[in-house]
């Protein structure tokens, strides 16, 4: 948690400062961060203190308190443990006897908001299919915060999701990690301090979309060429900015020094001494340069084992790390390599076969990966499955049991909590029930891996966002006035 604090503070400062738009950028990172300033953020609602007591606490951190308690103050988990909570003055006590509490579920792969419901053509904002490399587009600019799917996802216990551009492009653009809260604009939903991610895609999809178009790619060879060339261009761009920054530094250093004693007659100022302009910004190369800096995490859509190996090779050639492979139905075939390189895998519990690169999917993918030490994630990539990630984790557990693979209840819960938190770079903040973490919590009416289980209460940052027994007006403006009974 400490490690992300400075970044959080920096972002908070950025969010409140009224930096004049015309002011010269100081660095590439500085320029980039201005794009994230939220004009739509509301003042934070006060977070009340409460204690969940009497239920079973599944921490996703290796512990199960049965019964146990969770104390929440100021939107964070103050304490969790077995038995009865210590006296907590001023905190409301919520009895959840016979029920279960887990961390809020995290979907590492969603297109809610960018492919919202209903599936209107005019709302299809998830794939910028005008070129195979569109690193400069941001999912947060396509994310419609009125997507009715958001509230359905919350009702299913999802509190955080990564919204990604689609997989039509070799490099599809930036994804954004958001908290599931009603908002007027996507920036107000951004998970505080979460890094941006880059969506890349291997294999069939870019080939299918661009195969008939001028410039391609139409083959896997073309896929790799497109991705390599983009990153080589980014290396050059990054160097240009580095040179410019270094020069700025030198000049600032020179300006700070006292004037030299020798009083030669002052030369007329030549061009060199005028403040140099920064290099022209290229949003696509900027994103890729941020990847090379390690500030933007790479989330790569790949199915086949050899496609993944090709991308790992590319990443090592160019010099970046892949944070997670997505879908990755053949990841189990290369789980030793993925474990050694610390690449997470976000997959499904049982989707398979809809295309040939998905034909070797097996239900034990996640369990085999977990056994090998890979951070395995079950994600939805679906407006339907994001409403029941608990069941999907339950299926992964059942499949592991059938095959005699050693996946525990805690491991299975981590597939949809702690592990996606790591894949999104927010594991210091959410993903487990531990002191200090954000109070993203779900109370389930029975064990969350049961098909009959329903979320009863869903908290985001300690604020109650869903109560099964107290449904109000819909979050989405679109759903207003639609709710006529027969």
């Amino acid at each position: 948690m400490r490690s992300t604090l400075p970044l959080l503070l920096a972002l908070a400062a950025l969010a409140t400062s009224q930096a004049p738009a015309q002011e010269m950028v100081r660095s590439r990172a500085d320029a980039e961060e201005r794009g994230h300033l939220a004009v739509e953020a509301l003042p934070e609602e006060p977070a009340s203190s409460f204690v969940l007591r009497g239920g079973t606490v599944l921490t996703a951190a290796g512990q199960r308190f049965d019964p146990g308690f969770v104390v929440v103050t100021d939107g964070r988990i103050a304490l969790a443990g077995p038995g009865e909570p210590p006296p907590t003055p001023g905190a409301r006590s919520i009895d959840i006897s016979g029920q279960f509490v887990t961390p809020g579920l995290i979907d590492a792969h969603s297109h809610l908001g960018v492919y919202p419901a209903p599936d209107f053509k005019a709302h299809s904002d998830g794939n910028e299919m005008t070129a195979a490399v569109t690193a400069g587009v941001w999912a947060e600019h396509g994310l419609w915060p009125q997507d009715p799917g958001l509230e359905l996802a919350v009702a299913g216990g999802t509190t955080t999701m990564l919204v990604l551009p689609g997989s039509a492009n070799l490099i599809g653009g930036r994804g954004v990690t958001v908290h599931m809260v009603p908002a007027r604009g996507s920036r107000a939903m951004r998970f505080p301090g979460a890094p941006d991610v880059l969506k890349m895609a291997c294999g069939e999809n870019p080939k299918r979309v661009y195969g008939e178009k001028a410039g391609g790619p139409s083959t896997r060879m073309g896929n790799l060429r497109g991705q390599r060339e983009a990153f080589f261009a980014a290396q050059k761009y990054r160097e240009e900015w580095q040179r410019w920054s270094e020069k700025q530094e030198r000049e600032r250093g020179r300006a700070g020094k006292p004037a030299k004693p020798k009083d030669r007659p002052a030369k007329p100022k030549d061009k060199e001494e005028e403040p140099a302009l920064p290099p022209a910004r290229d949003l696509g190369l900027e994103t890729l340069a941020e990847v090379l800096d390690g500030r933007v995490l790479v989330e790569a859509h790949c199915y086949r084992a050899d496609d993944m190996l090709n991308l790992v090779q590319l990443a090592e050639e160019v010099g970046f790390k892949i944070r997670a492979f997505h879908h990755a139905l053949e990841a189990y075939k290369i789980r030793d390599i993925l474990a050694a390189k610390e690449i997470a895998v976000a997959t499904w519990a049982d989707w398979w076969g809809f295309k040939i690169e998905a034909f070797d999917g097996i239900e034990q993918n996640a369990a085999l990966l977990a056994q090998a030490g890979v951070r395995a994630v079950i994600k939805s990539d679906s407006s339907v499955d994001i409403q029941r990630l608990n069941q999907e984790a339950g299926k992964a557990l059942a499949s592991a049991e059938r095959a005699g693979l050693p996946l525990t209840e805690d491991d299975a819960l981590r597939l949809v909590t702690a592990n996606p938190a790591w894949a999104l770079g927010i594991d210091a903040e959410v993903g487990t029930i531990e002191s200090g973490k954000r109070a993203d919590l779900v109370v389930w009416d029975r064990h969350p891996f049961s098909v009959y289980s329903r979320a009863r209460l869903v908290f985001v940052d300690g604020r109650l966002r869903y109560d099964r027994d107290r449904r109000g007006a819909p979050w989405s403006d679109f759903m207003l006035g639609q709710e006529h009974e027969p």
Binding site: P118, P148, G149, K333, G353, G361, V384, V451, Y452
Partner: protein, 414 residues
Amino acid sequence: MTMRLLPAMMLLVAALPARAECVVLEGGQLVLPGQKPSAGTVVIDGGVIVAAGANAAAAGPCRRVAVRGRVVTAGLIGASSTLGVSEIDLEAATREADAGGTDPVRAAFRAADGYNPRSVLIPVARLGGVTSAVVAPSGGLVSGQAAWVDLAGGLQTSAVRRAPVAIFASLGEATGASLSMLRELLDDTRSFARAREAWEKGQSRDYRWKRLDLEALRPVVEGKLPLVIAADRASDIDALIAFAAEEKVRILIRGAAEGHLVAERLAQARVPVIVDPFVYGPGEYDQIHGRPENAARLHAAGVPLVIAEHTGHNLRKLRQLAGNAVRDGLPWEAAFDAITRAPARAFSMVGYGVLEKGAIANVVVWSGDPLEISTQVEQVFVHGRAIELTSRQQELLERYRTLPGTPRAALPLP
């Protein structure tokens, strides 16, 4: 050619299983038609259930299998599937579900013709407790004829149990245009049936449709074969109920996301619905009033309820779908019925979907509640024959249990 074919054909004959054995499943919890699990015994012989219930006993010598603590049920039925007609959805060479072309009417198209009983999807579905499926064509306004298949046997002749069991159709996005075309089509079907002889002699009027399409629709206008029509919006369902009454045809509604809004009408007209309980919320414009309680409300109103998963790859999710309907208010017995007895009834397949004397011995033994996620399929019988519980996926798992999997060591020198 003949020489090369011959051994293969002989192999096929040899592979045909002998008469199904006699098996007694003892000590389990039986799901008898429309009921919750209760203790009992099942006796299977000659491919049929010869006894099922608390007091069932075998008449002669049988293989006895102890299933204490297990749940024994009829095999699940995929009521609207592309199993065996779409191996890999995005590879045209593996697809047989869609007649293709621009003609909106493909009533003569038979899903059974393209059904591949050797599809690797079939063992995967069986591992999910599915033993029968309605293989449905798709595309166009009238997609074609659906087939009822059992998930066993390597030949179409043994796997396809009845075809057609229904004609599948879809309203698409233009309800009015689709219905007017359907009206004309059914009217022409009747006219063609009457004028058939004259037509052969060139003495009838011209028909807009192909002869085989008009012939295929004849059992529909005679009320012998149902028309399964895809529609989600309440107003479309309303229009379809009126259409069916007016045309005197039997229909089933597939989709029916907003069915709960017209549940009384559906019940009154005795129109069965085939729903997917995962479809709620406004995924599509026609599903704006979709609700998690859809299945529960339809059942409560007395609408014959079938729950289906529409792909082939995900047929094993059938029990999860039914489980979710229970989560959202549907009684357990109705949910289990909706994936067994109800589809058999909707497609008039007597002897299917029930665990009772005389029924076809498609039987599954589960480790617990069949609808619960943690439950495993332990034994599957199709027509009384025990099915080996393996699949291509299972073989991949075994190959890759230890790495590196594929690259095997060089062969020893001969």
